[in-house]
Amino acid sequence: MSAPAANCPNCGAPVTFRWSSAVQTTCEFCHSILIRTDVDLKKVGQVADLPPDASPIQIGTEGAYQNKSFVVIGRILYEYEQGGWNEWHVVYNDGTNGWLSDAQLEYDLSWQRALPSQLPPVNQIARGGKFQWDGKEYEVTSLTQAHYKGVQGELPFQYWDKTDLLFADLRTSGGDFGTIDYSENPPLLFLGRAVEFDDLRFKNLREFEGWS
């Protein structure tokens, strides 16, 4: 993994990248949101203090899925009326990236997919809607109106000035998982699998008072 070093244009602290394809990161010291350009880093915003969260995962957590190890390098934090969830940006040991979502300790792994032509527009997506992808039937099981709460670390795209967002979550009978992210137009599609905590062989997790 390459670690191109640069300095934060806001505070001058060194900024390192764990993943060469990262587009955005946050300064660990001054919490500036930094976008990578061809020549340097540009400050585009400031992360507000992230609300306390109780995900056991943190930047630097390592794990493995199907004999591919990964490390957590960034996250997007969302909030909705029934709580919040984290989309952890992970990079695998073969240089590819993906997402590990932790919604109230239910874990899903997913990867961004090329957009199939038949995705319905935001005003037409509905619970119960069905899609055939990879020979499996995905059904829309929930629509979540969420607020963007903040970002941390390295992300594969610019993602820092969102407000209200709609997500459609999809499931299959075989434990596959999908999300349509309507924060962009056209929307983004992520497909993956529901996973058990024990399947991911985590290291470097957070510790919880009273649970060591």
Binding site: A54, L105, E106, T141, R206
Partner: protein
Amino acid sequence: MTVKTKSLSCPNCGGPVALRGFAHTLNVICPQCLTVLDASTPEVEILQTFQAKQRVQPKIPLGSRGKIRDTLYEVIGFQVREVQSGDDFFSWDEYLLFNPYKGFRYLTEYNGHWNFVRVLSALPEGAARSGRRFAMRAQGVTYLGFDSMDARTGFVLGEFPWQVRIGDTAACADFISPPYMLSSESTGGEITWSLAEYMDGRVLWQAFQLPGAPPMPSGVFANQPSPYKGSVGSVWRTWLWLNVALLALLLYFSVTSVGHEVFSQKYGFSAARANEAAFVTPDFNLSGRDSNVEVAIKTDLVNNWAYFNFALINEESGQAFDFAREVSYYRDSDGDEGSPNNSVIVPGVPSGKYYLRVEPEMDRGAAPVSYQLSIRRGVPNNTFFLIAAGLLLIPPIVKTVRRSSFEAQRWRESDYAPMVSKVGTGLAALADD
């Protein structure tokens, strides 16, 4: 960096409110005044105040920790869910379990029946229905529709990672494949599926190190595993093997122990000299313990009959066993009827010196008959084997009856109970989906 536990003060009564679920906790109920509080913001807004008619004491106290399936869980929330359907009212208790890494699970308890529950990430599918029952398939297992109901939250304690209020209602449906139960809960159109596994309360009492004993389960619960399941099949298999053994025994005895012949003699009889019909045989010895004696008659009768009166008489004691046999044999172009031979088994004859008194009878004018009388001691008796086979039937039949009455008791509580006309419309909607 260790994530710290925190606590709040209740804005309603000022009492301390401990939080066990870290930042997962969205709502918490003040243990002193039972006010529902918003734990997600520093302002700790009051969400609901309610006067519980009666404070419910959870059987497993909040804060208890225990290992289930090798994972340590802490009880952090508790709710009573009530169902009112017509004049029928019932409720069950639901415990929220938490592990900061593995997540949330539930324990439910109804009348002493416990279930360990987790939310399913795979989506169950409607399955072919059998009769008017609806079924769902999840991860290769078919679950039969059991019941559906609207459940209302009647009492809450502790903390929850979602919004909770007294009076919340959810449409619930249960599908069973004991010891598992697949359940759906639908609120505001969103359906959550969960899978429950039946658990013995004693296992939980041990896991959570609770004093005393769990409540005795009453009745049969929807997904309670039948104590007769499997064992019925094996009892019938055992029965089959015992019968094979019995048959082998029967064959063995009929080949090896044909009894031993103690007397055999040929005689002739003519009805024309009927006045001299009765005679006695020479003495013969019956030895050994009390056992049976077979008297076999072999005749050369054709299209005729003969009747034999016998008395087996003990020469010393005079004890007599009286019996008789008819021999009739007819044959024509249509086939045979009867047999020229017959035999009789006299059971329980003590040892001693015996003779047989014989008195043949035939139609006057019938052709003379010649016949052979053979007497054998200790012949195998097939009726004993039949009785044994009959007795062997008792255990599997008893088990089968018990099993079906257990199943009848299970389904009596369902929407498909024979006496209930309510049809599981909720189930139909789900299965049609």
